[in-house]
Amino acid sequence: MMALLKRDLAIATRSGGAAMLGVLFFLAVVAVIPFGIGPDLNLLSRIGPAILWIGALLASLLGLDRLFQADREDGSLDMLVMQDWFGLVATVFVKSLAHWLATGLPLVLAAPLLGLLMNMTALSTGAVMLTLLAGTPAISFIGAVGAAIAVALPRGGLLVSILVLPLAIPILIFGVSASYAAVTDPDPFLPPFMILSAITLFFAALGPVAAAAALKGASD
């Protein structure tokens, strides 16, 4: 399984890989917001955490359709599916983890830069980073389900986003509310953050199982 993690990360960082594309997309999405709503710094700093979270969500969804499709196109997927049930679930888990390391983690690291552009305070930026760190893995894990369902479909990319976005809404809700709770005084930070972490753990358990079931059924 370490071999799989190593391989997927190598592919993501080699030429043609998607590792940096997610961050660039994140940067571009967040950068167009001020064009849309105007350069009012106070407004930007108020909605900054929400913008960063939406940008990260969209950027995470970006490469998801390739998660299994690339393996299907070259035939590797057959060998991945040709395992016992536990092996397949572990495979999906590792692939989702590799996807997060290649696209999710760079988003967390890029967040401070964008926080600066959004005129967010250091505390607010830190809170967004922390919630992104805790929350974006959930997107990769639940996204694996959508990717597995859409693996055999042409133009699966849009479909994956449509399938996964509704499931990702709770992540967004608690991610953003925890980020705001860290800045606005009366709201406690911990409860929404704990729920966010719980969602990630839950999806980390549920996502691979569901995706493995979908892959088993989809192979033809």
Partner: protein, 255 residues
């Protein structure tokens, strides 16, 4: 048969890059030495320049910031010229020049944004504002990064050359926007004070260090650019040799 002619075509096209390698190999040491010397002189002049009566010591950021911004635009212009070379004459060296300038241009752009941000904090009270000049430079950075991603997305450099050249030329409209943004829109960023029709408006004690720094930056750019181009040429040769090696193994003649 078509395969052997294609590989011969590739090798004749390497003839020019070979001349470039020889020439740049001879020029590079002098270029690098000149870059180091002017940088040292420029930095010394920058630190001995008088402090601004309003801005105090922070004015020295200007000597790093302004040339970086100039170079960010110049680098893109170099790429645009090279892109014309790619599209019109299909010269492989033009593509190499455009591609290897990308990371350098991105670095200069990032440096100008970074130093501008550091300068803006004490002057304007904020790290970042979405005014026309800053935003257009930020768009320039995104374009550099996007072009880099485009090159990275295609494993065959020959296929990436033309689309990248087209995109570079389309993106060139951003350069005049950056240059004139401070005149066209009323912004927080100060208007041009060095390159203007009626002569520079800044004092000579600041102008000279700035100009020396600009020369130093330009020399640094060309040093790095030549080095990057040489690397890229070698990288492509390695790729070509690998493909050849792959063909010769196992007694197969198919491409």
């Amino acid at each position: 048969m078509s395969d052997t002619t294609a590989s011969q075509g590739w090798f004749t096209s390497l003839a020019n890059p070979t001349r470039f390698l020889a020439l740049s190999g001879r020029v590079l040491p002098y270029l690098a030495a000149a870059a180091v010397i002017t940088s040292v002189i420029g930095l010394y002049m920058s630190f001995t320049a008088p402090e601004d009566y309003q801005q105090g010591i922070t004015v020295r950021i200007m000597f790093i910031h302004v040339p970086a911004a100039w170079l960010a635009m110049m680098c893109y212009s170099v790429m645009a010229v090279a892109s014309i070379g790619t599209l019109v004459w299909r010269h492989p060296l033009a593509d190499v020049a455009a591609k290897s300038a990308l990371p350098i241009g991105a670095a200069f752009t990032f440096l100008s944004l970074l130093t501008g941000s550091l300068w803006g904090r004490p002057m304007w009270g904020t790290w970042w504002v979405w005014d026309a000049r800053l935003t257009s430079v930020f768009v320039l950075l995104l374009m550099y990064l996007g072009l880099m991603a485009l090159h990275k997305a295609m494993d065959d450099p020959a296929r990436a050359a033309r689309p990248a050249a087209v995109l570079t030329l389309v993106g060139f409209i951003n350069i005049p926007i950056i240059k004139f943004s401070v005149d066209w829109w009323n912004t927080l960023h100060q208007p041009a004070s060095v390159i203007r029709l009626d002569g520079p408006t800044i004092h000579a004690s600041m102008l000279y260090p700035l100009l020396v720094m600009a020369i130093a930056y330009t020399l640094i750019f060309f040093t790095l650019h030549f080095m990057a181009m040489r690397n890229e040429i070698w990288r492509r040769r390695v790729a070509a040799m690998r493909r050849q090696a792959a063909q010769s193994i196992g007694g197969e003649t198919r491409p």
